[in-house]
């Protein structure tokens, strides 16, 4: 009885799962197939009736063009620098907020607040109220100190965006790392202290190893969002000057919504998917190995 019932129950369970699996598959496959299809066509929305099969044409066009490589480099720099900033400052802030000091609860709340400001809004605030060379706070400070003004978005466009995005995402790192730190067994810390470990040794040998796993989570999640970073670039620099702050997402936007070239934009999209998978795989490997080492 039992031997025959098992596969039947499996089948039954699978048939119940099938509709949602099918829906999810459609949800994913249809846009993907459409993108692949469009990427093999010469298709500009403004020149209807001129669609033609392009084969690899759009890809060749993109891959032989400077803009794609610049954008790819910018994407990786953006992701890498923002990850570094958020992990370093996130860890430091978490260590600080883990202490008991008067008002630490209010402080924790305030530190997390930037994460809940919409990206466009915070980018606008940074652009017009902080970094603006005429009206901005930074310009006022440097001018009153007699240093003149810094033109953030002309001199260091990519770095300015890294700063803005880093400011937005550091709270996210705190949000994950602080509870992790608090979950550290206090007896372990006490034992280490009794053995004569100073704060640095404590951090190096107890807290940091404990934080590695949540740090990996932060890195993974942030990478997913940062690869498709767009709003901050759109609001502040429009990808310029030149291509200095154009990342892949902005390049695709430029082709699709400023040039209305569906074919080229779709090819860019497919390249972005490939890049995301490579970065994802690389990161998984790295994270996986780190966790293995710990055991």
């Amino acid at each position: 009885m039992t031997t025959t019932a098992k596969p039947a129950r499996h089948l039954h369970a699978r048939s119940l799962l099938a509709p949602s699996v099918a829906a999810l598959l459609l949800w994913m496959i249809v846009p993907l197939v459409m993108t692949l299809w469009f990427s093999a066509e010469h298709y500009n929305l403004l020149s209807p009736g001129k669609t033609a099969f392009a084969g690899w044409g759009n890809y060749l066009d993109l891959l032989t063009h400077r803009a794609l490589w610049v954008a790819m480099g910018n994407t990786l720099i953006l992701v890498g620098l923002v990850l570094a900033i958020t992990l370093i400052f996130g860890t430091l802030l978490s260590l600080l907020l883990d202490q008991d000091f008067p008002g630490h609860q209010v402080c924790r709340l305030l530190v997390i607040a930037p994460f809940f400001v919409m990206p466009t809004v915070s980018a606008l605030i940074w652009k017009n109220m902080l970094m603006n060379p005429v009206f901005g706070l930074f310009a006022w400070i440097t001018r009153s100190l007699g240093f003149g003004t810094i033109e953030f978005f002309s001199r260091m466009p990519l770095l300015s965006i890294v700063v803005i995005v880093g400011w937005e995402w550091t709270p996210f790192a705190v949000l994950i790392l602080l509870p992790a730190l608090q979950s550290l067994n206090p007896e372990q810390v006490e034992a280490a202290r009794l053995d004569g470990a100073g704060p640095l040794a404590l951090f190096r040998h107890i807290q940091l190893p404990h934080l590695l796993r949540p740090m990996a989570v932060v890195a993974m999640i942030e990478t997913i969002f940062l690869l498709s970073l767009f709003a901050e670039i759109y609001v502040t620099t429009n990808g310029g000057p030149g291509l200095a702050s154009t990342n892949l997402a902005y390049l695709i936007f430029r082709d699709a919504l400023l040039g209305f070239d569906v074919g080229r934009a779709s090819a860019g999209g497919v390249i972005a998917i490939v890049l995301a998978n490579i970065v994802g795989l690389f990161l998984m490997r790295l994270v996986g190995r780190n966790l293995e080492d710990l055991r």
Partner: protein, 430 residues
Amino acid sequence: MLLTAALVAWLLYRPVGRPELTVATANNTDMILMQQLSPEFEKQTGVKLNWVVLGENILRQRLTIDISTGSNTFDVITIGSYEAPLWGERGWLVPLDDLGADYGYDDIFKVIRQGLSYQNRMYAAPFYGEGSFTYYRKDLFQRAGLEMPLQPSYEHVRQFARTLHDPEHGVYGICLRGEPGWGQNMAYLSTLVNTFGGRWLDLDWKPQLSSPEWAEAISFYVDLLRNYGPPGAITDGYNENRALFANGNCAMWVDATSAASYLLDPSQSRVATTTGFAKAPIAKVPNGASYVWSWAFAIPTSSKRATVAKQFIKWATSRQYIVTVSKRFGWLRVPSGSRESIYENPAYLKVAPFAPLVRAAIMNSDYTKPSALPVPYVGIQYVGIPEFQAMGTEVGQEISAALAGRATVAQALALAQAEAERDMEGRSRK
């Protein structure tokens, strides 16, 4: 009893299939006033209006996708003189030649009307129009003992900017558009290149960005703005410059005439009494030194309510509408630049000292002859072909790199030429 009466009344007077119109428009000042006045139209006709109000750039993207894919979302759309003839040619818009004898077609500026037509059929009705000219600060000029000629040359502009540039006191010699984009820095720069004798494309549709005229014009611009402009000019578009000028940070500004009424409004501007106006500067040739543009309403052919939509367009672009606005908000806030009659209206001329110059700027521009050299396209601050949006945006980005000092003008223009050639390739493809 009362309930029955109410029910009967509702049955008798309930709105039976009240027609609805979906209107897509920009969030510019004149459109916002129109939205505030629209209950009047709804009352007159019993039509219900649904509004979709977006920023200019987003609106343009949304409408282009909407109309090119043939989806039937809007009954009335707001487009400019770049789109109207292109979309009319493709059969995407309903012709608007039949708004009636009382509409006053002859009253519309000829150049504006032609700009919205394809093969002499008007595909969009102008709501307001604008040209470009020079704003300057009368008080600063007077203090420095300078006088702005009615028709300045760019050499004048350079000298004035040098004299008046005083960054210590927050006054910059000149403000110009630096934000990249075909409707931002390239709109202004196209007029500059035109007056330096250059053109976008030659008669074989080959991009001319590596020509000496472009090099001279862009070098002049980069030099002028880097030396005598506000810091961070590469992020300044129309709105940012308007804010700078209204705050008293600019001695001169060359841009759209539609900012004039804003700058003269003391509740929004610190320079309301000290702003002066002059024609757009000329470098070598007068051709295409100032531009002409209009925002207009059109009906997509996919709309099923074209007749009602025409009623709305007629209401919003009529002479009567201008009077309605003046009664409610005053003459300074009426939509201008589309109809000639308001330039003969003493009430308008009294509050708008810039009006004769605006009229001259619009009437003297010939968008079919933007350059002293022969060109195969129409359009002064744009090129009336679909490829221009991509080309203009990419060229604009390269030039902003030169303005930021990250590339020389020669390098930027060489890259821009390559980008433009790549964009024009699609045109030759069959």
